[in-house]
Amino acid sequence: MLPREYRTISSISGPLMMVEKTQDVMYDELVEITLSNGDKRRGRVLEIESDRALVQVFEGTTGIENDDTKVRFLGKVLTLPVSRDMLGRVFNGRGEPIDGGAQLIAEQNLDINGMPMNPFSRDYPSEFIQTGISTIDGLNPMVRGQKLPIFSASGLPHNRMAAQIARQATVISGHEDFAVVFAAMGITFEEASFFMEDFRRTGALQRTVLYINLADDPAIERISTPRIALTAAEYLAFECNMHVVVILTDLTNYCEALREISAARKEVPGRRGYPGYLYTDLATMYERAGRLKGKSGSITQIPILTMPEDDKTHPIPDLTGYITEGQIILSRSLHRQGIYPPVDVMPSLSRLKDKGIGRDKTREDHADLMNQLFAAYARGKEAKELAVILGEGALSDEDKAFAKFSTVFEDKYVRQGEYENRTIKETLELGWDLLTMIPVKELKRIRDAYIEKYLNPLLKAKAEKGNA
């Protein structure tokens, strides 16, 4: 079918325009728009009514005129050229190279919307990923194929943390192909160059694909950026058999863009003006994480979002939490105390943790140790709160030990350097080391055998040191 060209734009509103007297237009079809000054833009069909088509323009509608602008329907949906050579490259939010390198020679052209994975064909995620960050590896372990978002807020160092994960993430079973796909939506130039510089300097770039949509790029482009990134990830994971970690930042900007389109279409708004289909829309992206039976690759997603007003019940974190398999929450109070990474351990959760740890995966004592650290930290924080009300004197000796533990825990276990890459073994040892501060009879969550094996040698060493 020949591409058809029209000059029949009847109305323009926000990112949308209506094209009249169209024929044989497909739903979701890719559109090319040529402005009178020769500028080319792209868009897609959002709605068709007989001979009218509603088109969403990716780069915004500024400068589009009713009569002089040409609209061409390309007869295909938006696809992304993919190849293994994407690794090490930087693209814009539409998937075009911006690193000065050559155009990509496509091995395949893939529909960026992907297709839903058949739940029957999925394989359950169960292999541990080491991020080198204790609060994740030790307490909220992530597994291949999981989607584990970071709930942050403005002013918190989520970007540094994301870069650290991208740099350090690895599977402990060894040398398998590992790649990072990084999609930035609506972040500032400063932030974008931070990521690019950091990856370049540390050598992580060669196993990374970057898609960058800056804050001053058209907001509408952000709708396709994460989908493009995930399409690239799917190709690397399931065609090239790589283990791919996809980092999406910042989802809040994405949702704002979605709201903008929804408002322009005059749709009935849901909560806080976000469209009613926000859940479905987010799910079609998040659910592209996973593993497939019979394929050795995997897609692990780490979406990052900033909670407006630190509010976890805001629709964006709320709906995300309902879809993803847990969440890592950053705490402003820890950040104020100068602790990096400021992971709020208590409300953070990795739903798939039980499947990825233990003997043959990390270490046999991991689960017990994790539960004990959680419980001890919770009790310590409680004791500290009590001490604020009733004074330190009201605490029992045990509670005092727990209170001290929680302080040291934040300082030694939660806090770590931005370039400090702790192996899972180091993280576990650190945990045991901290538990020596607590009377052994209070360690109810750990099997006696593990106390014997892992804790007693430490206690003995400590006692000897005390004597010397």
């Binding site: 044989d24 237009v25 497909m26 739903y27 979701d28 709605e47 068709i48 009514e49 007989s50 949906v77 919307n113 992907g114 297709m115 839903p116 994975m117 058949n118 739940p119 029957f120 064909s121 999925r122 394989d123 359950y124 995620p125 749709e267 009935v268 849901g270 909560r271 009613g276 289909y277 859940y279 479905t280 799910a283 079609t284 998040y286 659910e287 592209r288 996973g290 497939l292 039976k293 019979g294 394929k295 976890k312 019940t313 805001h314 629709p315 709320d318 709906l319 939490g321 309902y322 879809i323 398999e325 969440q327 208590m346 409300p347 039980d354 539960n371 419980a375 919770a378 009300i389 009201a394």
Partner: protein, 597 residues
């Protein structure tokens, strides 16, 4: 049945999952249509002149105005017959395994048409009626062993009665005629495969009161907030509060003969988890893998949204079919909020006037008519069989705010409310069902049943335990203000017992091989022991026993470990009562000095 009439039209408008077709004169509401060259499946939602608004159950990208739309003149229906159990269906009853084979890909592609029931497989049919017998609709013609534990009963379809003039024993496929019924000269051929429209509830003879319990093996549920066979329950809770784990626990341990689990707009990995786990786990009642009594329906959150709306109807229709055979069926829907959102999305596209929070005004009626399909009843047929459907729906309120429309409308029709609490979840107290605000309207109806079984002690124990927890909540306020030392000795005992109730009884580890399920017998014994300790403890305190000694008695460790006793060893719990008496008498000062601290 009226003749099926085909109506052909063309696409005029496409907007997401909504397609408007023209030239559809003669098509009726809720008819199934095939859309476009690909033959995507859809359902008519609205008819206006010759225009029909259609919700499409598959992704619509690539469709064009002018493509054909064909109505089959039949509403959305499911196929009923042997082969449903152990299946894993999508929202419109297509087996996902066959979709994978047909698509030759791990992704769900569009326009795939696969049969819900295997057409090739032969089932061994054993007749239960003879030639010449009089039968009416609902009577059992014969049986087929569907799985090790499920005997599939082939019934006379609705609208048919008469004399059996032919009945075929032996191996048959679902499409072969197994019986012929002669209704005064009109011959009706009956096959194992029958169809039923999903939006129409299957009729029953009489409905019964819900006064038989359905145990779930979950202590907080069975003891405090029980659900009856044929009852309805809802589990609302914010994310991370363990909704899905609770639903899985019910699906695993609920005392039902058939389990229908519908994953509606939830995570793909969760369905995979069920799919991999259920064949491995054994049902405590039959000793066979749980999968042998389960059927799964999945419309995960990334699958087309319109089919999400259909998935709960598909599920309840399958449940009704097994109820009609005389089984007790449990239906778990996770989560009804996603279903309501699908309704909202379609309603928005149809440009209907929105009600609260953008949900359509008919949200309440739709929810009510769905939950109303639950119930315990005498089903059709001459033998007066009893069957039941118990519906347990999860609700995902945005931000955990229970005042939102889906939760409120659900609470209006369901009789049990298990309120999940994020704070309990943070404290890792699971199941995170808040004992202070949850309720069950079946408690009074079910008390006589358990009282009879447990020497008239059950309801008394439960009431006392609930009272203690309530008192604890009030005492906690005082403690928070002035510290625990301000409490009297009796109040300290209440606090200790309430803590024991919380930690040793209500808390239950779903991932522990023994703790994951507790029989009613075990629950009763555990509860009785904890309350006994309370009584004996109070008595001892009055007689001057020192508090710290009482609270640190070695028997308390044994009380805490009751939950880990295997079902065959629960008699040991009875012995604890003696141990309690013995140890407590050991700390009461001789002569009973009432002033001792």
């Amino acid at each position: 049945m009226p003749d099926k009439k085909e109506v052909k039209g063309v696409i005029e408008r496409i907007s997401g999952s909504l397609v408007v077709a023209g030239g559809m004169e003669g098509a009726s509401m809720q008819d199934v249509v095939h859309i476009g060259e690909l033959g995507l499946v859809g359902e008519i939602l609205e008819v206006n002149g010759d225009k029909a608004s259609i919700q499409v159950y598959e992704e619509t990208s690539g469709l064009m105005p002018g493509e054909p739309v064909v109505s089959m003149g039949e509403p959305l229906s499911v196929e009923l017959g042997p082969g449903i159990i152990e299946q894993f269906y999508d929202g419109i009853q297509r087996p996902l395994e066959l979709i994978e084979k047909a698509a030759k890909s791990p992704y769900i592609s569009r326009g795939i048409s696969v049969p819900a029931l295997d057409r090739e497989k032969k089932w061994d049919f054993t007749p239960k009626v003879k030639v010449g017998d009089d039968v009416i609709a609902g009577d059992i013609l014969g049986t087929v062993q569907e799985t090790v534990v499920v005997e599939h009963r082939i019934m006379v379809p609705y609208g048919i009665k008469g004399k059996v003039s032919k009945i075929e024993k032996g191996e048959h496929t679902v499409e072969e005629v197994i019986a012929v019924i002669d209704d005064n000269g009109t011959m009706h051929e009956v096959k194992m495969l029958q169809r039923w429209p999903v939006r129409k509830s299957r009729p029953v003879k009489t409905r019964l009161a819900p006064n038989v319990p359905m145990t779930t093996g979950q202590r907080v549920v069975d003891a405090f907030f029980p659900v009856a066979l044929g009852g309805t329950a809802c589990v609302p809770g914010p994310f991370g509060s363990g909704k899905t784990v609770i639903q899985h626990q019910f699906a695993k341990w609920a005392q039902a003969q058939i389990v229908v689990y519908v994953g509606c707009g939830e995570r793909g990995n969760e369905m995979t988890d069920v799919l991999l786990e259920f064949p491995e786990l054994d049902d405590p009642q039959t000793g066979q893998p749980l999968m042998k009594r389960t059927t799964l329906i999945a419309n995960t959150s990334n699958m087309p949204v319109a089919a999400r709306e259909a998935s709960v109807y598909t599920a309840i229709t399958l449940a009704e079919y097994y109820r009609d055979m005389g089984y007790s069926v449990a239906l778990m829907a996770d989560s009804t909020s996603r279903w309501a959102e699908a309704l909202r999305e379609m309603s928005g596209r149809l440009e209907e006037m929105p009600g609260e929070e953008g949900y359509p005004a008919y949200l309440g009626t739709r929810l009510a008519s769905f939950y109303e399909r639950a119930g315990r009843c005498i089903v059709n047929g001459k033998d007066g069989r009893e069957g039941s459907i118990t519906v347990i729906g999860a609700v995902s309120p945005p931000g955990g705010d229970l005042s939102e429309p889906v939760t409120q409308n659900t609470l209006r029709v369901t009789k049990v409310f298990w309120g999940l609490d994020a704070n309990l979840a943070y404290q890792r107290h699971f199941p995170a069902i808040n004992w202070l605000n949850s309720y069950s309207l079946y408690t009074e109806r079910l008390d006589p049943y358990w009282d009879e079984k447990f020497d008239d002690q059950w309801s008394g124990l439960r009431t006392e335990a609930m009272g203690l927890l309530e008192q604890e909540a009030q005492l906690n306020e005082i403690v928070r203000l002035v510290g625990i030392d301000a409490l009297s000795r009796d109040e300290r005992m209440v606090m200790e017992t309430a803590k024991s109730l919380r930690e040793d009884f209500l808390h239950q580890n779903a991932f522990h091989e023994i703790d994951t399920y507790a029989s009613m017998e075990k629950q009763f014994k555990m509860l009785r022991t904890i309350v006994s300790f309370h009584h004996a403890g109070l008595d001892a305190l009055h007689k001057g026993a020192p508090m710290n000694k009482l609270f640190n008695l070695p028997v308390r460790e044994q009380i805490a470990r009751m939950r880990y006793l295997e079902e065959k060893d629960i008699a040991q719990i009875d012995k604890l009562e003696d141990t309690i008496k013995e140890q407590i008498s050991g700390i009461i000062p001789v002569g009973g000095d009432t002033n001792a601290a």
